[in-house]
Each structure stands twice: as C-alpha cells, then as structure tokens.
Point group: D3
Chain length 137, copies 6
Amino acid sequence: MPIVTVTRRLRFNAAHRVHNPALSDEQNAALFGKCNNKNWHGHNYVLEVSVSGEIDAVSGYVVDLGRVRDIVEREVIEKTDHRNLNMEVDYLSGLNPTSENIIVAMWGVIEPALKPARLQRLRLWETENNYVEYEGE
Amino acid sequence: MPIVTVTRRLRFNAAHRVHNPALSDEQNAALFGKCNNKNWHGHNYVLEVSVSGEIDAVSGYVVDLGRVRDIVEREVIEKTDHRNLNMEVDYLSGLNPTSENIIVAMWGVIEPALKPARLQRLRLWETENNYVEYEGE
Amino acid sequence: MPIVTVTRRLRFNAAHRVHNPALSDEQNAALFGKCNNKNWHGHNYVLEVSVSGEIDAVSGYVVDLGRVRDIVEREVIEKTDHRNLNMEVDYLSGLNPTSENIIVAMWGVIEPALKPARLQRLRLWETENNYVEYEGE
Amino acid sequence: MPIVTVTRRLRFNAAHRVHNPALSDEQNAALFGKCNNKNWHGHNYVLEVSVSGEIDAVSGYVVDLGRVRDIVEREVIEKTDHRNLNMEVDYLSGLNPTSENIIVAMWGVIEPALKPARLQRLRLWETENNYVEYEGE
Amino acid sequence: MPIVTVTRRLRFNAAHRVHNPALSDEQNAALFGKCNNKNWHGHNYVLEVSVSGEIDAVSGYVVDLGRVRDIVEREVIEKTDHRNLNMEVDYLSGLNPTSENIIVAMWGVIEPALKPARLQRLRLWETENNYVEYEGE
Amino acid sequence: MPIVTVTRRLRFNAAHRVHNPALSDEQNAALFGKCNNKNWHGHNYVLEVSVSGEIDAVSGYVVDLGRVRDIVEREVIEKTDHRNLNMEVDYLSGLNPTSENIIVAMWGVIEPALKPARLQRLRLWETENNYVEYEGE
C-alpha cells in the first residue's frame, strides 16, 4: 500500500522576545541582540503540519485534513494566535521562544492529539526568510 | 559522485468532486461534505516533479529539465488541464480523485515515462494551504 | 482628513466553464477553446476587497476589516466556494462566468452590503497569472 | 517625457496592540477583540514605497532605488523593526497603531525625507491577507 | 457599460548591466555601482500587461487574454527571454536597460500591437523587492 | 535531545550561460539551446541553507541564523551577486554553471565555513519553476 504524506498550513500572529530567564539581562542582550528587545517584537508565523500513512480505501484520504485543521486550531492556534509567546501560552511556559523551542513544544501537543494519525513533520516559518523543521527525533 | 535532486513545477486547472462511487450519496455527503458537491468544484493544482541522480559530466545536468517538462506535459498535464478529474482523465478512471489518489496515479504514469531518469518525489498542491507528497513506496 | 484604502483577501474554489448559452456549441468551442469544456474545470480564486475612506478618530480604522470579511464571506464566499459558477450561484444566474462577468456581479452584491463603507475596488485572481480589476464604473 | 512609478519593498517585524488610550479597557476590548490583547501580538510587516517622476536622461532612473532604500531604512525601518509600535517608535507616539494610522505616520516621515523625489504611494501589508494604501491626500 | 481591467503575467530571464554609453567607465561605475559590472548580471523579470475596456456582450471578455499572451510573447518575450538586454534586443537598442527604460520601450511595442484593445498599464518586476509601473503618459 | 533543522534563505542576481568549454560551439548549442546564448542571460537565484543539530540549552538555537547569514553572505553571496557565474566566481572557476554544478560547488564552500555547525541541505531556486537540492552525498 502506498505511503503518502499530507500537509496543512495554518497561520498565527504573535509577540515574543528571545530571552533566557536563567541569564542576566546583559548576557541576553549580548546573545540575542535586537531579538531580545524587552518591549517585544512579533511575527506572522506559518505552521505546516504533515501526516503520513497509507491511503484509506474508503475515503481516499490518509487523514481528513479538515480534522487535522480542527485539532491543530484547537490545540495550538487558538492558544497562540494574537498572544505573547513568553507569557501566555501554556505549552511554552518557562521556555525561551526560539523557533526551535516552539516547534518541539508544538510537536509535544500535536503528536498525541492527532493519534492514531502519525505526525510526520512540522515546519514553522518565522519570516519568509527563515524556518525550522522537526520530525520528532 | 554527488547525488543531486532537480525539480520542475507545472500547473493544471481542473474540476473534481471527492466521491466514492461504492458508497451511497448520503454516505458520500457525510464523509466529504462540501467537497462532494455533485455539481463539482475545482482547483489550480501545482505539481512538483523531482528527479535524483548523479550529475552528467558532459551536460552538467542530472537530467534535462526541459525534457522532464515535455514528458510530464504530454503524459499528465495535457490530459488533465481544464478537465474533469472524475470523468475525463484516463489514468484516474474509477478513482476517487483525492489528492492522495491523484498523486499515486500520476506516479504510475510519470515514473516509467521518465526512465532511465529516476523519479524521486512528487508534490501536489491542491490549494496554497494543502499539499501531498509521494516517493513511490 | 487622510483618505486610506484598506484591503482584505479572501479565497474560494469553484468549478466553471466559459460558455455563452446564446451561442451554439460549435460557436462556444471556437470562441473559448478548452475553457469551454462541457465537463467543467476549476480554479482557486482569490478576491481582494478594497474599501476607502477617512480614518475613524475613535477606532483608527477606515472600516473594521473583520466586519468586511464577515459580510463578504456571508454574501459572496459561502455562496460560491466549492460551487459550480454556471449552475449554483444566484448572483451569477444566467451569466457566462468569465472573470469579468464574475467581478461585476460580485460588485453588485458587495457594494450595497458594505454600506455605509465605500467599496473602492475589487480584484479577482483566477490563476497566479491572470486577474481582473473593477472600480464600479 | 514619460512618468514612471518605481517601487521598493522593505520588511520589519514588530509587536503592537490595537488600543485607543482615550477609551476604557472595556471599550477597547469590545472594539478591538483579540487585537487588543494587553500582552501584545505582532506581525511581519511589508512596506512598499512608490516614487513617481520623469526618467532622468543621464541615469535612466526616476530615482536611485538604493537611495530610497537607504533613506527608508534609516528613517523608518531601523526605528520600527523588532520594536513595540505602541511604546518605542517616535513617529507613532500617542497613536493607536492600526495599519491606517501607521501608514499615514510613515508618510509624514518618508515624504519630506525623499524630496525632491515625489512619494506617490505607500502600501503596508500587515499579513498576507490584508494591506492598506495611502497616496497622501 | 462597466469598464474592467484584465491583466496577464509573463516571465523572461535576461542578462544586463546598467550602463550609459555616453558616460565614461568611471562615471558609470560611480553612478551604478555593482549594477554596472562589465561582465553582466541578470534577473528573472515578470511583466504584467493590463488592458481596460468594456466587457464584450458575446464573449464576456474585455479581451481574449490568450490573444494578449500570444501577442506579448511574440512581440516582447521571445525577443527578450534568455537574451542580453544591452546587446540583443531590437526595441532596446542604444538604451541603458534600467527597468524604467525597459518598461517605456515595451509600451512602445505592446501598445500598437494590442490595438484595438487599449493597453492600460504595464508593471515590470526586476526582483521580488522592486518593480516599475507605466501607464503611457 | 531533539534534532531540529533550521533554514535561512538568501538571494543573489547573476548572469550565466550553460556552456561546456570541452565541447564545440555546435555541440553546446545543440545540447543547451537558448540557455547557451553566448551573450548571457541571468536569474534571481534564491539559496536555502539548512543546518541540523541539537538545540543548545543556553541559547535555544541549533545555530545562530544571523551567524549563518553572515558566513554565507561573505563566502558565497558577495562573490556571486551581480556577477557572471562563468567568468568571475572563484569557486565556480572552470565549471559549467548549471544549477547542479553550482549547488555542489557552494556546498564545498559553505560546509567547512559553517563548522562546527552541520550543513544538512542546500536548495537553490533558479526560477520560481525549478530548483535543485543537495545533501552532500
């Protein structure tokens, strides 16, 4: 049976600062520069959620992407859109919200919520010029 | 010798409905919602065709992408562009034209036509927010 | 007071054929070629809705774009998305659904629904390579 | 002599909240919804700066777009990128940072700085789905 | 009768250098910097061709965009694509190929060729960050 | 520890011709068609540089993408932007500048310069319709 990967893109707009609370203000400024601005900045993030599996013989789908969208909207987007990533998002609590830390935290939320569908890959665009990818390993 | 993957993007505009002829109308409506509309809807599809291999020492190409384009235009695009995917496309005959089923059927046409070049991956965008990928396994 | 134009983009996916019912099948085929395919084709349309006016001193908005989106979703998108433009859309009834005819018909629906906001321009993308614009004159 | 319009696109990432300090918190929440979140959100803004004029016979340019970029970078982008639009940007001081108010304020900074070149139009994208335009009137 | 503007996008890839042959090499270098590199550089240009007019009652078109595409392909694109803009393009002969000079020269070719259709606007993208517009005046 | 891949996109505009100096002019013309034009053509290239690794516990980064950008700007972009790929780029010297040969040559420059960070993948877009990928094997 062929294995196909299906992907849904979703968007959220959020404020953040790159900041490690275990470091001093001077260390944070030296390490993160303008991304550490204490008054925040923000991005239009794009998240791509990819699920892999065999094609279901009845539906012709690997998974209903409408269901994927609804789950990710509920579990991730609604908690994150128009929010402050350092202060307001439960699954990012205590984390320095770099794209790397965000994507791994989102995997932790999305992967169990999508089961039995198998989450194959997340890709998170912070700007049109940089993105991160994670495959759960 | 380095292995490089080269990709060509192509477009086609088509009508379809997501519909499994083995199910009743009620089952189809319940399973596929507005995508099952009996009067059709349609998309601007984008197909990415990726070929992998060693770089030829004479041409500097893995494969002539103009030749890839011509083959895929002839074998897939001309038969599909401005067509009805449920009714008019020979290689989709009898299939429920979900993106998953389309991409596997296209692989069956493109992979032998490109030989001896090695088809590595197909990616099919149905909208700017969802796409499927298949690597022939 | 400064006059600013604000724009919201919305999407719909639909089937259509370019066909003038007042002509014979032969005339339609000669005039419209593959766009006249009797079994339909389709597109991912993008509609840009632009409203002009003075900035409201209280809200800082020309118009609440969320309200614009809701009105256009209700009046145009919900009636058109995943539909057949020749058969199923009340405000296109009897029209040959070229982009030109669609945009003028959409103006006739959207312009009164947005009042007292002033509709300034519609832009409708049929594919990434062609679009039409209308300013109500 | 032909009149040509030349445009340069520039980017900045910023935090903001839509908030009118003359209103109560309840009024702000009612009027602006999630855009009023007191902990901020943010966007990847794109600014398009358009200058019109005759083509200079020596340079073949209406204006050196490198000079336009340098002026707008210095006068607007450096003061705004990775900043909080409600708190940190001098030319937005006291303003509710809706896209409408931002674009008019930016016009006030850019128009005199570009002289004798004639600023024709600003277009500001807040997200890929909404933008505002201003021509100085 | 409503006036609608219809637009077709076309692409060409070309080499050029920004260079005024009436100036010395030193003057050219001072004025144009790296864009004056004597060994050329190049771009993926995108040209948008806009035609305005009443909608034809029989076709539902302002103009057949397939005919627009064919004319512009023949008159402009085939002469320009994969060419050197300083050396090989008849309608640019003797011109410094800035985007401003290119767009006015293209207008001179396209405007008469499209008649009786009325060319309304050309837009030429040199990169994704800069473009020029011309309306024939 | 999770392994994440981070990617930075960069741009350069360059002239080239596809030409193998070991072949005759007739053979080159037959093999490469208009891409062999002796007066050059050019492209707006986009390069995506992907680095993989564990997330650093202090910075929350796999690697500082600002550092990646600076290295790639210095080692590759500044030597290539607004240049002739056949004549002026040291790391392409003697090569037929197909996208395949360019990407392998860029790997040879970027991979050691980024160490100890691990270069995972390069993707090079020649036009919006074709790109190549290389993972160093």
